[in-house]
Subunit: 248 residues, 2 copies
DNA sequence: ACCTGAACACCGTTCAAGT
DNA sequence: ACCTGAACACCGTTCAAGT
């Protein structure tokens, strides 16, 4: 308890060194929250710890950012804003989507704890509306219209952001001790009769594919598969476009 | 407080009517947890509420299922187990994947609150290993081998499960009152210069596409787009297979 | 084996009061 | 406008003790 007070005092001193002489800004709160999330994970984020790290009482956080849900939404926003889009018209639609995909994954990969729940947290904002509009422009440019445009748009965003959140998700059960050992054991017990394909490809897939890995994308990225997925989706869309060209 | 005791008493009475005379089984705990999640949402799940709903003290839950993370993992497992796979070899690989996709979405759609965080929670189990193995068999049968097999496998699972969790995710900010109004306002303020594509397609996309909807997949499903996404992925994989057939 | 009863440390949120 | 200090209701988890 005095320990907490000491930490608070130190943080307060740091804060006093700021240009404006110690008054907290909303941006500082968001930065501190993101730092805390990156350092200790999403589950460890609490309003009280965050307040402590800023040398301030919990209620102060509420004054700046509203409640915890809003705090998280704003942090996600901040990260989301740094996704870089190509100018519409500068590149072919396929290249534009590739750029969106790789930038989104790079940005979210810097904050894996956030990425896991990211899809739940997308909030309306200038930059999310901008992304939506640009993507729609690009897809219109490619020739998609009406109901088809809706489906293609959803396909692009759903696969890209859905994948990213799946890749960086942590396994809950991981919090337990010998989870890894248990997993490896289960995999090795895979018999030729029951799990022949896993057995055949064990070295190839162990800890490298969904449902057969015991570390998340944080420690074992799946960049190759992600890129392949994006290429597959684009190839699929091209084929859809060809089919669409024919008279129905 | 007496209110809680009353509820506990009633639940205990219900429990006493069970075949074995009132002793709690692990399965009963999981069923009650899933019911609570479906009824009040993931955030409302607490060990104490769950205990109350079973007419039991919190510590009893710990005896049956370990801690909260393990509880959630087991509940996910239970839902996951009801995904139905086609027999390998009974249908072409494309149909097999289609079946996996629609069954997975149907099953998860029955428990949207769970679906949102589902990717974080997949645990090793008999049925998840089985799914992994069958999918690998199917993809081998289609002609994918080695590193290519890894990427295709990840593409299939990453897009299907990633999408589903994105579709059924709730918007956090939704907990606030006039979120919808705010959103609609932001969309209507979309000017022709800043957001031309959204403006052009407003009626088409409003509340129907990712990042431009204010209700989640629970109330506004995106089945059409999901099916299209699956077809796109399959078409893309077919093209990848053709490319692969040519000498590199 | 299964459950009680109570405790511990922690949490989100609110609110009057200070400056 | 910005922050303190304290309070309220709730939470996950543990543990000795009961049967």
């Amino acid at each position: 308890m005095t320990e907490v007070n000491e930490r608070r005092e130190r943080a307060r001193a740091d804060r006093a060194a700021f240009p404006d002489g110690g008054s907290l800004s909303g941006a500082q709160v968001l930065d501190a929250a993101l730092a805390l999330i990156d350092r200790e994970g999403m589950d460890a984020l609490s309003m009280r710890k965050l307040a402590d790290s800023l040398g301030v009482y919990p209620a102060t956080i509420y004054w700046h950012v509203g409640n915890k849900n809003q705090l998280i939404a704003k942090v996600c926003q901040r990260v989301f804003d740094s996704i870089e889009l190509a100018e519409v018209g500068d590149v072919p639609w396929t290249a534009w989507i590739r750029q969106l995909a790789t930038s989104a994954r790079t940005v979210m990969g810097r904050h894996p704890s956030l990425a896991a729940g990211f899809t739940s947290t997308i909030q309306v904002s200038a930059s999310s509306l901008t992304l939506a509009d640009r993507l729609m422009q690009v897809l219109e440019g490619a020739g998609f219209r009406g109901e088809r445009l809706v489906m293609v748009y959803n396909t692009v965003l759903g696969t890209i952001f859905g994948w990213i959140s799946a890749e960086f998700a942590t396994e809950l059960a991981n919090s337990d001790s010998d989870w890894t050992a248990e997993y490896a054991a289960a995999l090795n017990e895979a018999s030729d009769e029951e799990l022949p394909a896993i057995r055949r490809n064990l070295l190839l897939v162990a800890n490298r594919v969904f449902m057969l890995r015991w570390t998340s994308g944080r420690t074992t990225p799946m960049e190759g598969s992600f890129d392949f997925m994006v290429e597959t989706m684009i190839a699929g869309l091209e084929r859809m476009l060809e089919r669409d060209d024919r008279p129905l």
